[in-house]
């Protein structure tokens, strides 16, 4: 009761404001009709979005058609598709080393496997976590915080912590040492390092997706669970036939976001492995970043071209998912 009193006090000025806002908006609605209001609701987002996301993207595309080391378009020369041609000049597409931009193709290959494994494992982990957190646990908030905690850390700190854990003189070796194992250089072993980048990025981002799924789980009407219970449904089946389909819209969010974020993996890996050993954890964003910004070998045009290619792949992937998602979305409608 006091809580609601408090929040209503808090909301009073906001509500008053909204009321004032309402009058002109009603007139607007009269004038434009309901579909006009759709445009109104969309407008602010689209405006900001257009200026700060879309426009830079277009400029970026122009970049990819220019050469030189200068940052600003005015000082760059137009080279047409040359940067793309360079990225694609390979003797054998299956062997990155045969390409002119061998690092690009190595990064593409690495990113592919990373995304595949990271996304699937992370979604699995988030889903399990969300399901478990959705149970009537004692100290719910505490457990939520536990799984969310790493999200609060900046990527640099994440990379650092895990470097300290995994490096030869790190905590992990120390713990293993207590059990009599010899110290091992995890971070110089290609397989382990690759696994570590996956594990660490799951560790760092899982909380976000868990939270989205948790909100989705909570939105499933409880009477459906009651109906399923009356139908004598085993928990596993409830999960597959009720929870999962009804979670589909949120699962779609999670898959799309996780996929995109995975393709863009950078900071924490950069700190943790720097892309090594060799180039085994060199991912696309690091390639783009180094190509575009690392001072000596800078080539913003090439970086832009690579990023456009990366964007294209992502668009295709997302469209595929939305295609799948659309069907399940319609199913979810009550």
């Amino acid at each position: 009761m006091t809580k609601t009193a408090f929040s209503s006090l808090l909301m009073a000025p906001v509500n008053a404001l909204m009321r004032i806002v309402d009058a002109p908006l009603r007139r607007l609605q009269k004038a434009t009709g309901i579909s006009g209001m759709a445009a109104f609701f969309l407008a602010p987002n689209m405006l900001i979005f257009g200026i700060f996301v879309l426009l830079p993207l277009v400029i970026n595309f122009v970049y990819s058609m220019t050469g030189g080391t200068a940052f600003f378009l005015s000082e760059r020369s137009f080279v047409g598709g040359e940067q793309y041609a360079r990225l694609f000049s390979c003797v054998d597409y299956l062997d990155p080393m045969s390409c002119q931009e061998d690092a690009f193709w190595t990064a593409v290959g690495n990113t592919f496997w990373f995304v595949l494994l990271q996304v699937s494992l992370m979604i699995l982990a988030s889903l399990v976590t969300a399901l478990i957190l959705n149970r009537g646990l004692v100290a719910r908030s505490f457990w939520r915080a536990v799984f969310f905690f790493p999200v609060l850390l900046s990527p640099v700190v994440v990379g650092l912590i895990w470097k300290w854990i995994l490096q030869r003189q790190g905590l992990l070796n120390y713990i293993l040492y207590q059990f009599g194992a010899e110290p091992y250089s995890w971070l110089t072993d290609r397989t382990w390092t690759f696994a570590a980048t996956i594990g660490v990025s799951i560790w760092a981002h899982m909380g976000l997706y868990t939270l989205i799924l948790l909100a989705g789980l909570q939105a499933i009407p409880k009477d459906l669970y009651e109906a399923a219970e009356m139908d004598g449904t085993r928990p596993a089946r409830v999960f597959w036939r009720i929870t999962l389909p009804l979670l589909a819209p949120n699962l779609l969010v999670v898959v799309v976001l996780a996929l995109i974020k995975a393709v863009q993996v950078f900071d924490e890996v950069y700190v943790l492995t720097g892309g090594g050993p060799g180039t085994s954890t060199l991912y696309l964003t690091q390639y783009i970043y180094e190509t575009g910004f690392a001072s000596a070998l800078r080539n913003p045009g090439l970086a832009a071209a690579a990023s456009i290619l990366m964007g294209l792949v992502l668009v295709v992937l997302t469209l595929l998912q939305l295609g799948v998602g659309r069907r399940s979305e319609n199913k979810g409608k009550r």
Binding site: T188, E290, F293, A296, L297
Partner: protein, 400 residues
């Protein structure tokens, strides 16, 4: 008016600088100096972008001084006594001005020199004498290997993962990056010679593998932590590590600076450092010059160096000697003295490289490709040809 300085710190220099700036403002009440402390990453990555856009601070402490030299302000008409500048900072003036000009862009806040550190305690315990000043890289390898075996440490030696660091031994082995027309030359026999050895050492466990292998691209990675923990007998880094080692090693073991090991051609380290430069786009060139003048004064440079444990880039200060570094750590003082001494054996080409436009390109290519070779992704011969190809491509890109 306002003078903004973009400043990054590796250690305590930010605080020293703050002190000095306060003092300056007291003496020059009309000028308001604002110190914007930033990460080195900002200086390296954002500053170039800002500069191209014509933004940026009035003064900056930078390390890529040659690359961005077209953005520096020419202080020659503004400073009180250009002759003083030429006299005392002339040696490095080329590092920070466009080729062929006589511009005064600023001065070095710090000269660095690459060099080695040995864990004397480990040597003592192993009963192996620390190799002398004329010892070659092979000698060091042999000696540290003995230490490694007797003391059960994981690695004998390590070099920071950095093109600049590895260039020092390359030069000692007779490498020359600079071609006839001042363009990059193909990687030569001297360089190949050392790099092949280096790869061999990493493979046989003499050189620490982690440092070079656990990163890709041009990522910088230091091996200081291993040395600090007594896991290395010999560590090749540079003068800037002295303060760091002093605080972190404390009394755990004895360490000494050794200068750079020798090769067939020289016993050279690589010079480098950070400069304080004025920027063209300032609205207050006069105040900027006043500040630069003040800060370049001999006693200020001296004080700054003493308090930060940096090697000064001021000729008079160096020549007069008598720097009393503000440290109660005897080993640190000894090490700094050793570095000052070692600077005398710096080879000509090493002195030229900081002012050469393509050195960063070279460094980047070497680091990238050699670590791939170390990770087993490339054969060392392929690495060499890739290095050449990378550099050639860069030269071509830049021409566009």
């Amino acid at each position: 008016g306002d003078v903004r300085i973009m400043w990054y710190s590796d250690g305590v220099e930010g605080e020293v600088m703050k002190d000095l700036v306060d003092r300056f403002m007291k003496e020059n009440p009309g000028i308001n100096v604002i110190l914007d402390n930033v990460a080195y990453g900002v200086v390296r990555e954002q500053l170039p972008v800002q500069l191209e856009a014509g933004n940026g601070p009035d003064i900056a402490r930078v390390a890529q001084i040659k690359d961005l030299s077209r953005h520096w302000l020419d202080l020659r008409p503004l400073v009180k006594d250009p002759a003083y500048w030429d006299e005392n900072f002339g040696a490095q003036a080329d590092w920070m001005r466009p080729d062929g000009s006589n511009q005064i862009s600023g001065f070095m806040t710090q000269i660095t020199l690459t060099g080695g550190f040995a864990n004397k305690t480990l040597f003592d315990q192993a009963g192996v004498p620390v190799p002398g000043p004329d010892a070659s890289w092979e000698d060091w390898a042999a000696a540290t290997k003995k230490v490694k075996e007797s003391q059960q440490i994981p690695y004998a030696m390590a070099i920071d993962r950095s093109g600049h660091r590895i260039t020092a031994p390359l030069l000692s082995y007779g490498a020359n990056y600079i071609g006839a027309d001042d363009k990059p030359a193909p990687i030569d026999a001297g360089a190949k010679d050392y790099l092949t050895k280096f790869v061999g050492w990493v493979e046989d466990g003499t050189m620490a593998k982690d440092v070079w292998v656990s990163a890709a691209g041009t990522t910088y990675r230091a091996a200081a932590d291993d040395f600090i923990n007594g896991q290395l007998a010999f560590y090749y880094s540079g003068s800037w590590q002295v303060a760091n080692l002093a605080t972190k090693i404390g009394d755990n073991f004895d360490w000494v600076a050794t200068g750079s090991p020798c090769g067939p051609a020289a016993c050279t380290g690589m010079p480098g450092g950070a400069a304080l430069v004025a920027i063209k786009y300032t609205k207050n060139p006069k105040d900027v010059a006043t500040f630069m003048d003040w800060f370049a004064r001999e006693e200020i440079v001296k004080e700054f160096s003493e308090r930060t444990l940096f090697l000064p880039g001021h000729k008079a200060v160096v020549e007069k000697g008598g720097l009393s570094f503000k440290s109660d750590n005897e080993q640190a003082k000894a090490a700094l003295t050793k570095f000052v001494e070692a600077s005398k054996t710096t080879s000509d080409i090493a002195l030229k490289l900081p002012a050469w436009r393509w050195s960063d390109t070279f460094y980047a290519a070497i680091v990238t490709r050699v670590s791939q070779a170390l990770a087993g992704e490339l054969k060392i011969e392929d690495a060499f040809s890739r290095i050449d190809a990378d550099i050639a491509q860069k030269v071509k890109d830049a021409g566009q």
